[in-house]
């Protein structure tokens, strides 16, 4: 299966198999006008199987959200055909990436406030809302801020 190479854009590589759609939703890629290719279950010597997303335009990419979803991801930034690799890491803070779902949180009535989650336990990758301490639930795409 072939997907054309790109001159200016991103290749989001080493996505855990099955998680490409989560990233697609989190980065709101459905709203882009450019070509976006999602490759799932691609054979990988390192990972067995992996997902890849190719974006045919240098958009403003939210690296913090990517690091939160999967710190093992590699992003290849392609500018005029030359490639620069950037590895993701677990961010210490997520600002306006997730929304707090606690109906008792101040952010539930004051939507203008920045939505901030902090990493409280890197081992379990636990993030908590700075306002109410509610834990961010993983794999809940409805928690992502649009």
């Amino acid at each position: 299966m072939n997907v054309d190479s790109i001159q200016n854009g991103y290749v989001i590589d080493h996505i855990q198999s099955g998680r490409a759609m989560e990233i697609y939703d989190a980065l709101n890629l459905g709203t882009l006008q450019c070509s976006v290719a999602i490759l799932m279950n691609v054979p990988s010597s390192k990972m067995g199987r992996k997902d890849i997303i190719k974006i045919d335009q240098l958009i403003r990419l939210n690296f913090t959200a990517l690091g939160y979803i999967d710190p093992g991801i590699t992003v290849n930034i392609i500018t005029n055909g030359s490639v620069q690799k950037r590895r993701m890491e677990l961010p210490a803070e997520l600002r306006d990436v997730l929304i707090c779902k606690n109906p008792r949180c101040i952010t539930s009535i004051e939507q203008e406030l920045p939505q901030v989650f902090r990493l409280t336990d890197p081992v379990s990758r636990t993030y908590r809302c700075i306002y109410c301490d509610t834990q961010a639930k993983r794999a809940e795409t409805s928690s992502f801020k649009r």
């Binding site: 008792r104 949180c105 101040i106 952010t107 004051e110 203008e112 336990d121 306002y131 109410c132």
Partner: protein, 304 residues
């Protein structure tokens, strides 16, 4: 400029200093009667309160200062839709320090981000209530003389009981503390307290639904009210409200020097027959609340 949003904003050394100041105020009230002359405390209470608001006001008056504010959201611009950020930016123009209670969790933290004067969290929903914790700590200090080698029973609503969350956080920094968490299944402590404090710090704790079984082990019994205002569903409140009622009969198996604490107000979870028991400390605890708030106001206003 410091604010107090979470009891863990204070180091144990700072807590010890605050309690020492509070004890000095008890012994020498005259020495402190003019310390805040010309200063103003704003009490912004978006949710009803008797004890906390009045103890803050009494504290400021006894320091020689003045008080302004409101005691319900309906009498503030919040009822017109004003944000917490705007409210405190405006009140910062009129007061030197703000004590805020709000039904939404995190509102005082938001206030501290936008105010130009210190903010004291006087309770944010079911989340934190650090000045109640300082009150509880001063009471334990005065009654027991120490914070270590204690078995503390926390009983009732441990899910929404903000005083319980703050107290666990504060006491977990001392040595040889054991908690016995007594609650119905539906009102157990939140995961973030269990996982991030008790398990992470390897603090011994038990969870049980039986007050009677826990009683003989306890040095301190901290009773709480099941709070109607925290339930979205009235039926759940009615089912759980009478889960634990402390009476003289249940106290028979308790240690002779156990302390009974309660943040108040109580409804029926401690019968009035317990009030005359020397182990009942909850009214002395309410008095301690004023002294510790005096000490806190002095600290945050950096008054020597």
């Amino acid at each position: 400029m410091r604010s107090l949003i979470d009891i863990l904003d204070l180091s144990t050394q700072e807590i010890d200093e605050l309690l020492a100041t509070a004890q000095d105020i008890i012994l020498n009230p005259q020495k402190y009667s003019e310390k805040c002359r010309g200063k103003k405390l704003a009490t912004l209470f978006f949710e009803p309160s008797t004890r906390t608001r009045l103890s803050f006001e009494a504290a400021m008056y006894e320091l020689g200062g003045n008080v302004l504010g409101f005691s319900e959201a309906a009498s503030s611009s919040a009822s017109k839709g004003e944000s917490v950020a705007d409210t405190v930016r405006v009140v910062s123009c009129y007061a030197d320090i703000i004590a805020m209670r709000h039904p939404k969790e995190g509102a005082p933290l938001v206030a501290s981000m936008y105010a130009s004067v210190p903010i004291i969290n006087a309770g944010d929903g079911g989340h934190n209530h650090p000045t109640q914790t300082l009150t509880d700590l001063l009471t334990i200090k005065r009654e027991k003389g120490k914070f270590d080698h204690l078995t503390i029973g926390l009983c009732g609503d441990l899910k929404f009981g903000r005083t319980v969350h703050s107290l666990i956080g504060a006491l977990s920094r001392y040595h040889n503390i054991k908690f016995i968490l007594i609650s119905p299944d539906e009102l157990k402590i939140p995961d973030y307290i269990r996982n991030d404090i008790l398990i992470k710090k390897a603090i011994p704790f038990e969870e049980t639904s039986s007050l009677e079984e826990a009683m003989p082990q306890l040095d301190i019994l901290y009773m709480t009210r099941v709070q109607r205002e925290r339930f979205f569903n009235e039926a759940d409140y009615i089912r759980l409200k009478d889960s634990y009622i402390l009476n003289p009969e249940k106290l028979r198996s308790a240690k002779k020097d156990m302390c009974i604490l309660h943040p108040l107000p109580r409804v029926n979870e401690i019968t009035t027959a317990v009030d005359d028991d020397p182990r009942a400390c909850y009214f002395r605890q309410a008095l301690n609340g004023k002294y510790v708030r005096m000490a806190l106001i002095l600290k945050l206003l950096e008054v020597k």
